[in-house]
C-alpha cells in the first residue's frame, strides 16, 4: 500500500521536475520495441530534439497519465480501445491537429478506423501506429489439437497450458464459446451475463492450467522449456519462439484472433506537441517503420512499409494468417468506462476459485 503511494508520489515529483525541461525534449511513453535506439538516434540527428523513452503498457500508461492529470509526457501510445473511455472519464488527452500530420504515410483504412474509435465530442484523439493480434502460441508437435481458446481446457494438454488473467482472455473465451462480447459492450446487463458464462468456463478449466502468466518473459521461459505447450499470447511472441524452435508458432484461433492497434495520442499537459508531430511523421516513413517492425515484431500502419519488412517475418505472418483468418480478426472496439469493474470481479473470482 505504502509502495503505491510512494510510487504515485514519485511519479508526481518526476513529472514536476520533468515539466521544466526544454520543449526540445520529447518525452515518449510507449511500449518496448516501439522506439528502438537506432530510430531514436536518427530522429535526434535529423531534428536536434532529444527523446526520452519510458516503456510501459496500456494500464500503466493510463494510470501514469491519470496520476498527473495528463502531464509528464509529450506523446503516449495506448491501444485505440483505451482512449475514448479514459478521455471521457479523466480527460487525460488533448485533440490531435490532423493537419500537422502527413496523412499519405498512413494506411487509409487503419487511419479511418482508429480516428472513428478515438473520437470524443467530435474531436479526434488518436492516430494508428502499430497493430497486431493476440491468439494462441502452440507447440504444434505436442499440442496439435489446440485450435481455439477453449481447446486450452482440453484434457490432452492439462497441466501444460497457461494464459493471463486479463481481459483478452475473457474476450477470447467468450468468442470461442459462441458469444459476442464486443456487441454487448454498450449493454452492461448483457455483458455481465456473458462474463458470467466465461467465469464458469474459466473456473472449470482452472485445474488444467499450470500457472497464470504475468509477464512476457515468464511466458517465453515456460514455452521454451516445454513446461507449457499451449498458451494465449501475442502473435509476436509466437513468431519469436518460432525462430528458435520451429515447432512452436502463433496460431490464429478458430474464433478469431483479437486485433489491437496501438496509437499516438497527445497527453493533456504535453509540452512538446510540435516535436511529437515531428516524431509521428518521422516514424511513419516506410523505412523507419520497417526498423520498428524489426524491433517490435509487429507491422505498422505505415503505407508501403511491408516492402521493407524481413522475409522471415512475412513468411511467419502468412503461415499464421491465411486470408480467412485475417478476415476473422476481432478488432477491439473502444472500451466503455466502467467495463473494467465487471471484468475485474470475474478475474478476481476466477483467481480465488479452488
Amino acid at each position: 500500500m505504502k509502495q503505491h503511494v510512494v510510487m504515485l508520489s514519485t511519479a508526481a515529483v518526476i513529472a514536476i521536475s520533468a515539466g521544466a525541461a526544454s520543449a526540445d525534449t520529447l518525452r515518449l511513453l510507449t511500449w518496448g520495441g516501439y522506439a528502438p535506439e537506432d530510430v531514436v538516434a536518427k530522429f535526434e540527428e535529423q531534428t536536434g530534439h532529444t527523446v526520452e523513452v519510458t516503456k510501459s503498457n496500456n494500464e500503466e500508461m493510463i494510470a501514469k497519465l491519470r496520476a498527473t492529470g495528463g502531464g509528464g509526457f509529450d506523446l503516449a501510445q495506448p491501444s485505440q480501445d483505451r482512449i475514448a473511455g479514459p478521455q471521457a472519464e479523466f480527460g487525460i488527452y488533448k485533440p490531435m491537429d490532423l493537419s500537422k500530420l502527413n496523412a499519405d504515410l498512413f494506411i487509409p483504412s487503419l487511419m479511418l478506423a482508429t480516428q472513428a474509435n478515438t473520437t470524443v465530442d467530435g474531436e479526434v484523439y488518436g492516430v494508428p501506429h502499430v497493430w497486431g493480434t493476440s491468439g494462441l502460441v502452440v507447440d504444434t508437435k505436442m499440442a496439435p489439437m489446440v485450435k481455439d481458446y477453449t481447446d486450452l481446457c482440453s484434457p490432452d494438454v492439462a497441466g501444460k497450458v497457461s494464459y493471463r488473467l486479463k481481459r483478452p482472455t475473457l474476450i477470447g473465451f467468450a468468442y470461442s464459446m459462441g458469444l459476442d462480447p464486443f456487441a454487448a459492450y454498450g449493454d452492461e446487463a448483457a455483458y455481465t451475463e456473458i462474463m458470467g458464462q466465461v467465469e464458469a468456463k474459466l473456473i472449470e478449466c482452472k485445474a488444467g492450467v499450470k500457472t497464470y502468466w504475468g509477464g512476457g518473459d515468464e511466458l517465453m521461459g515456460l514455452l521454451r522449456s516445454g513446461e507449457v505447450v499451449a498458451s494465449m499470447a501475442w502473435d509476436t511472441g509466437g513468431w519469436k519462439l518460432n525462430a528458435d524452435k520451429p515447432d512452436i508458432t502463433f496460431v490464429a484461433p478458430a474464433a478469431g484472433a483479437l486485433g489491437w492497434v496501438d496509437t499516438f495520442v497527445l497527453p493533456a499537459k504535453g509540452k512538446a506537441d510540435d516535436a511529437a508531430y515531428e516524431w509521428i511523421n518521422f516514424v511513419m516513413q516506410p523505412e523507419i517503420s520497417a526498423m520498428i517492425t524489426a524491433a517490435a515484431g509487429n507491422f505498422t500502419a505505415s503505407q508501403g512499409a511491408d516492402e521493407f519488412a524481413s522475409d522471415d517475418l512475412k513468411a511467419r505472418y502468412q503461415a499464421s494468417f491465411p486470408q480467412e483468418a485475417i478476415d476473422n480478426i476481432k478488432w477491439y472496439p473502444p472500451v466503455p468506462a466502467g467495463l473494467e469493474a465487471i471484468e475485474g470481479g470475474v478475474l478476481d473470482r476466477v483467481k480465488a476459485a479452488k
Partner: protein, 285 residues
C-alpha cells in the same frame, strides 16, 4: 547563539518534515479522500463509504486479506525460527572477522534486486529447474517435479527475502546478552532448553518483536514474490490493490483497500505487542 541553534534544528528537521509531509501525510490524506469517493457516472463522484462496504461485503476481498495476513504471520514465524539460530551463531559463537564475514553473507542477496532474487528461485524450483533435475538425477524422483506456483514457494520466497530484517535486530540484541549470564544459567543447573527459554529468549524479546514487526509488514506489503512464485489461486492483498489502481482504474476502491490494509496490519502489530507484553518504545528504542 540560541537563534543559531534554533536555525540549526530547523535545518536539521526540514528534510524529515518535508519527507514525512510530502511522501507520507499528504498522499495518505489524499488517498483517504479518494477512498471516500463513489463513482456515480462518467467523471461524477459522490462522498460515500461505498468502497469500504464493498470490502466488507465481498467475501473474496476479506478472504484474500485473511489469507495474506495468515501467510505473512506464518512466514514471520518461519523466518524467526530460521533466523534465531543463525543470529545466535553470529552474535555469540563466532568472533571478529568470521562474525563480520557471516553477517556480510546474510547481506549479499540484497545486493541484487528483489526481481532477480525471485527469478533465482524460479530457476531453482521450476519443473525443468535445477532442484527437479538433481532429484531426477539422484533417482529420488521418477519424473519432473514442479515446486513452483504454490503457497510453499511463496513461503520460501518470503522467508528468503525477509531473513536479513530478522537477523539484524536479533544479532543486535543477542550481542548485548553477556556470556556470563548464559553461563550462569548453565552453572545454576539449567540445560540448553531451559537456558534458551528462561534467559536467552526473554533477553532477545525486544529484538524478536521488532524483527517480527518488520518482517510481517514486509511480507504483507510484498508484491513481487507472491505474484511471481504463487500459484493459480494465490491471491495476495497487494495484488488486489495493484489491480484496482492500475488495471481497473478504480482508484477509489484501491484507496479503500490500502486503508484497510494499513488499519488491519496496525491492529495485528498492536495485538502482537500486547501478546508479548512489549511496547513499541521498548522494541524500537
Amino acid at each position: 547563539m540560541r537563534r543559531e541553534a534554533k536555525l540549526g534544528l530547523a535545518l536539521l528537521l526540514t528534510p524529515l518534515a518535508l519527507w514525512l509531509s510530502l511522501l507520507i501525510f499528504i498522499p495518505h490524506i489524499d488517498l483517504f479522500l479518494v477512498s471516500l469517493r463513489e463513482r456515480v457516472g462518467v467523471g461524477k463522484y459522490e462522498l460515500s463509504f461505498a468502497n469500504y462496504l464493498t470490502f466488507f461485503n465481498e467475501p473474496l476481498y476479506l478472504w484474500t486479506f485473511m489469507r495474506t495476513a495468515v501467510m505473512s504471520i506464518l512466514a514471520t514465524m518461519l523466518t524467526l525460527l530460521i533466523a534465531f539460530p543463525v543470529s545466535y551463531y553470529i552474535a555469540k559463537m563466532v568472533k571478529g572477522r568470521m562474525q563480520a564475514a557471516l553477517f556480510l553473507l546474510c547481506l549479499v542477496p540484497f545486493w541484487v534486486s528483489e526481481l532477480v532474487r525471485t527469478f533465482g528461485w524460479m530457476i531453482l524450483l521450476r519443473e525443468t529447474g535445477i532442484i527437479s533435475n538433481v532429484l531426477q538425477y539422484a533417482g529420488l524422483a521418477s519424473g519432473p517435479v514442479e515446486m513452483l506456483y504454490n503457497d510453499a514457494a511463496i513461503m520460501v520466497g518470503l522467508v528468503y527475502t525477509s531473513m536479513l530484517f530478522m537477523v539484524v535486530p536479533l544479532v543486535t540484541t543477542l550481542e548485548s546478552l553477556s556470556d556470563e549470564v548464559v553461563e550462569a544459567g548453565y552453572d545454576l543447573g539449567g540445560n540448553g532448553v531451559s537456558v534458551l527459554r528462561e534467559i536467552i529468549i526473554p533477553h532477545a524479546m525486544p529484538g524478536i518483536v521488532s524483527g517480527c514487526i518488520v518482517v510481517f509488514m514486509l511480507c504483507l506489503g510484498n508484491y513481487l514474490t507472491p505474484t511471481m512464485l504463487g500459484g493459480k489461486e494465490s491471491l495476495w492483498f497487494t495484488e488486489l490493490i495493484y489491480s484496482q489502481f492500475i488495471v481497473r482504474f478504480n482508484w477509489e476502491l484501491g484507496a479503500a483497500f490500502g486503508f484497510m490494509l494499513l488499519i488491519l496490519s496496525s491492529l495485528i502489530v498492536w495485538g502482537m505487542l500486547r501478546l508479548t507484553g512489549q511496547s513499541l518504545e521498548k522494541t524500537m528504542g
